[in-house]
Amino acid sequence: MKANLDLPSKLSLVFFLWVCAFTLPWTFQVGLCLLLVIARFAIPAFRPVSHRSAAAFSKFILYSITVALLVTCLNALFIRSGNVVATLLGFSFYEDGLLFGLRTASRLILLSFSVLMFFISTPLTVFIDYLQSKGLPQYLVLMLLLTLHFLDHLPSRIHQIFLAQQARGAPVDSGVLSRTRALLSILSPLVLSSIVESIERGTALELRGFLSRPVASRKPEDTETRVNLLTICFYFMSLVIIAYSIYRWLNV
């Protein structure tokens, strides 16, 4: 039995964190978020796979702090029930709103963190390969890989069309209605060119017999057949927390 943090165990960790986000008090959730931040630097399996992922993580931390402050303050300000906790510049902050804001912010951040940690530390191609090994059809795998190709090219294509339409005098800077109509002048050439490209690619795939070829079943890799101790631990802890939450709910 192995105990390294591979892809299935990372998925089980995400599941465990989702369970925690819905069952544990907000103070635990904040603690788990801090642990995840430490894990990103301390555990090799959680290191970002690219500079882009690392930047996304740093941006998300700053974003989370801003959101937590904003959500907590706004709820404390708008939900006017319970005692007044503080008054600042004539604005009163209420206890119930403050607690609701803290609970919401910590759950939102923990849920988002768990998903983000998984994706920044797992290359998409590895994840797609894992899904294929679990039975995802070959054409869906190709579709996801083609999406990555389009995602690389689409922003520059949109920018190019936008500049061209602007040069032709499309109303890209006038009123909201005119700008909404200008959307069509950008989307039309984009969709048209994509259909032409799709037909070319589709024809190429058909000529190669991709869509009619029987798919060879993949042999499960050696690592997949072994049980990972961490995966079992995370699922077991999740079940314990769920059972305890149900027990507490029934007694209340």
Binding site: A56, K59, F60, Y63, V67, V71, L74, F78, I79, F100, R103, T104, A105, R107, L108, L111, S112, S114, V115, L116, F119, L124, P137, Y139, L140, L142, M143, L144, L146, T147, F150, L151, L154, P155, I158, V172, V176, R179, T180, A182, L183, L184, I186, L187, S188, L190, V191, L192, S194, I195, V196, E197, S198, I199, R201, G202, T203, L205, E206, L211
Partner: protein, 199 residues
């Protein structure tokens, strides 16, 4: 005997459909770039899903929307993963309307867009309320707070916020898809599974 879901998806994903669905997933993810460039206060993040639902079919639209949300989560917007049920409803409902011929007449498109917006608001409200406490890290959060401050409970506030913003967004998306498909040459449309939906 009805075909299994896997077979229905495979039937739709023939020829040009596969790369086209991939393009529409990418379009869902980059639509924000177009609306930001034009400074339009709309999301239009399901325009690709609607396009697939009309030109390819409902099953492909469900795949398109789900994959777009999954990739959005991977690219730094993790909360999108929880809204996969909403895009499933959008794909299935739009595909159903398209098969019934609703994308052949503009007034049916208007009604369909509004219905879709209401449906999307109703499906997303419980997720937004119970999973995220009504906070979606967007400007519309202020609307939720406003509705709560005037005495509504959380779920109702989120539903009202959704009903205030989603129908407009979906109506514009439906109209854009309608005009786009009307202007496409028939010889290109005929290469896609759902060409008859707009004929």
């Amino acid at each position: 005997m009805p075909k299994p879901i896997r077979q229905r998806i495979a039937d739709e994903m023939t020829g040009a459909a596969l790369p086209f669905v991939a393009f529409c997933i990418a379009l869902n993810l980059t639509a924000g770039q177009i609306t930001a460039a034009l400074k339009i206060p709309l999301y239009l993040d399901s325009i690709g899903t609607i396009l697939v639902a009309v030109l390819v079919g409902p099953w492909s639209a469900i795949i398109c929307g789900s994959a777009a949300n999954l990739l959005a989560a991977a690219f730094g917007n993790p909360s999108m993963i929880f809204f996969i049920p909403v895009v499933i409803v959008i794909g299935a409902f739009t595909g159903f309307l398209a098969r019934k011929g609703w994308f052949r007449k503009w007034y049916l498109v208007v009604i369909g867009g509004i219905l879709q917006g209401v449906l999307a608001a109703l499906v997303s409200a419980p997720i937004s309320a119970y999973v995220f406490g009504g906070v979606m890290m967007a400007g519309t959060d202020f609307l939720v707070l406003y509705f709560r401050s005037v005495g509504n409970n959380l779920l109702n506030s989120v539903i009202y916020q959704g009903l205030a913003s989603d129908p407009v967004d979906k109506l514009v998306s439906f109209l854009i898809v309608f005009f786009l498909t009307k202007n496409l040459p028939q010889r290109l449309l005929s290469r896609l599974h759902g060409a008859a939906n707009v004929g």
